[in-house]
């Protein structure tokens, strides 16, 4: 019964202590991005894993968060923390409005609509050169700071990003175990049944879409301040696909799975870097093989593999 708090406490402990082991190394920087990607993957998993609604446009929300933060803080010198809130609210308001027509769609139509939305946002980043700096990007974004503490190196950024990540993971775990979480899963299984049980399906889907966009925009703001530079290439269709892949490889509907998926697929390209041009091929292969042989994602696949290796455990049952 009390497994959730223990799991979470363990995660917090590992997250807090990780820099002791990795600090100074190049992996520290990668771990910052594992944190940002985990935020995004948890956000997408709320929508995809719990409510069963696919989005191939989440990189767009992520990008909007990043650009709003970058432009308002660098060009207009607004307080970055305030901007972070404004960006998240604005992006989730946009998602809320657009959610009503978009989430009426199902299956591949929904995939296509969200994909279209993401690509339109991406084209805007590229073409609105006066505002966004165009394809070459937008630099000079200030680091975040609290008083005299400026988040300007990997270790500080790590703690900055991961404090957001850990809070969002906690919220998502709680949400999934709440009445809303159950309602979302009911929508996943059968919208009609959910509606019969008194769930306002349409509103709830749009609300979770807006919440997901809110978290994604937040991740975008953090990204902008960590990188101090934003360019459209980070927010394209490819990244949306990568996020969906992280959700599925990690495990649909599992918050901790999101963490595993984000960690694996963020670290993987770094590990494959030694293979140079072959890395993209190996990446594609891993996608195919993982989906083929671990359809439930890492979070269900790893216990299954362990059970197969340790035959004693199988006999119980």
């Amino acid at each position: 019964m009390k497994r959730e708090p223990v799991k979470y406490a363990l995660l917090v402990a590992v997250a807090l202590l990780a820099p002791l082991y990795f600090s100074g190394g190049y992996l520290m920087n990668v771990l910052v991005f594992v944190g940002i990607n985990t935020l995004l993957v948890v956000a997408l998993n709320l929508l995809l894993g719990f409510a069963g609604q696919i989005s191939l446009g989440h990189a767009g929300f992520f990008g909007l968060g990043a650009y709003i933060s970058a432009i308002l803080t660098a060009t207009h010198q607004v307080n970055p923390w305030l901007v972070m809130l404004i960006a998240a609210l604005a992006v989730s308001a946009l998602a809320f409005l657009i959610g009503f027509p978009v989430l009426k769609l199902k299956g591949h139509y929904l995939a296509m609509a969200t994909l279209g939305l993401g690509i339109i946002i991406y084209i805007f980043f590229n073409e609105a050169v006066d505002i966004t700096g165009g394809p070459s990007g937008f630099s000079g974004v200030p680091n975040l700071s609290i008083g005299a503490l400026v988040f300007d190196d990997d270790v500080k950024n790590y703690y900055l990003v991961w404090s957001f990540t850990l809070v969002v993971i906690l919220l998502a775990v709680n949400l999934s175990r709440s009445r809303i979480g159950r309602a979302l899963r009911a929508i996943h299984d059968s919208e009609v049944a959910a509606r019969v049980m008194g769930v306002n399906v349409r509103l709830l889907k749009v609300q979770i879409f807006a919440l997901s966009a809110f978290i994604s925009a937040l991740a975008g703001s953090l990204y902008a301040h960590v990188m101090t530079f934003v360019a459209p290439a980070s927010f394209g269709f490819h990244f949306s696909v990568e996020l969906v892949t992280m959700v599925i490889i990690g495990g649909l509907g599992s918050v901790y799975g999101s963490l595993l998926g984000a960690a694996l697929l963020t670290l993987l390209p770094e590990m494959l870097r030694a293979f140079q041009d072959y890395d993209i091929i190996i990446y594609g292969l891993i996608l195919i093989l993982a989906t083929m042989f671990m359809p439930g994602g890492l979070v269900r696949g790893i216990p299954a593999v362990l059970a197969a290796i340790l035959p004693k455990k199988q006999e119980r049952g």
Binding site: L48, I54, P101, V102, K104, L105, G107, H108, Y109, A111, M112, A113, L115, G116, L117, I119, I120, I123, F124, N126, E127, S190, V192, F237, V241, V244, T245, I248, L252, D277, Y278, I280, I281, Y283, G284, L285, I286, L287, I288, T291, M292, P295
Partner: protein, 294 residues
Amino acid sequence: MNLSDQIIQFLLSGFATGAIYALIGLGFSIIYNSTGIINFAQGEFVMLGGMVTMFFLTSLHLPLPAALVGAVAITTVVGVLFERLAIRPIRKPTPLNLVIITIGGSILIRGLAMLVWGKDTHAIPGFSGEEPIQLGNASLLPQHLWIFGITTLVIIVSKVFFNYTISGKAMRACAFNPRAASLIGIDVRRMVLFSFIISSAMGSMAGFIIAPLTMTSYDVGIMLGLKGFCAAIIGGMSSGLGTVFGGIILGILESLGAGLISSGYKDAVAFVILLLILFIRPQGIFKRADSERV
């Protein structure tokens, strides 16, 4: 050129790109109808069509017809391998898993193409030269005529195949109800393989007829694939004329948008249209709405 001449010019070139989108869209619909899979690797078949042709022409110095046949053959082999190695072995196919597998496949094919041919953009000469043909005040490239000709031919052949041959009818039966089709003795798995063969061949043709106009590189498949997908959605995922009209409408609107509004936002035009159609008529603009089944 005054405005009306310009518009005629935009219509002509839009019609040509639209025909390409239609071919790519048909590839999507054929696989979707026989398997329920949205094949995100469809765009890579298009890329292969152009790149393999380029390779045969410039590296092996084959004559054009041989290069084109070779491109279709190689792309089809890739399509068959993809179906055999990635699609068929899946034990628990869910729509999401299939989406990820086909995306993985497209990344893999793109990566291999990059390894083999590098990251450069390559040009292919037009099939019958580059001398424009004057039509009133508008002009047309000979390649445009090739595009119209080949697209029309492919559409007619596929129409005949689906309506008058036993394999074509069997594929339609699978699209309608795979379970019932297998009960009357149709080998559904073979039909799935057929659909990949037809789609990859169609994709490669789209790839080599557009390559002389737009050049080709290892990564052209993404955008072309997405546009073809738009065409199929506009046409209601039909494997017939719906998708053809969908492609042509998309091509023309895109060309008008690029010419009259802004060329930078050309690609956005396609997706705005797509969103509008999905919001207003999600079943495609030619189909009556199906009632939702639980």
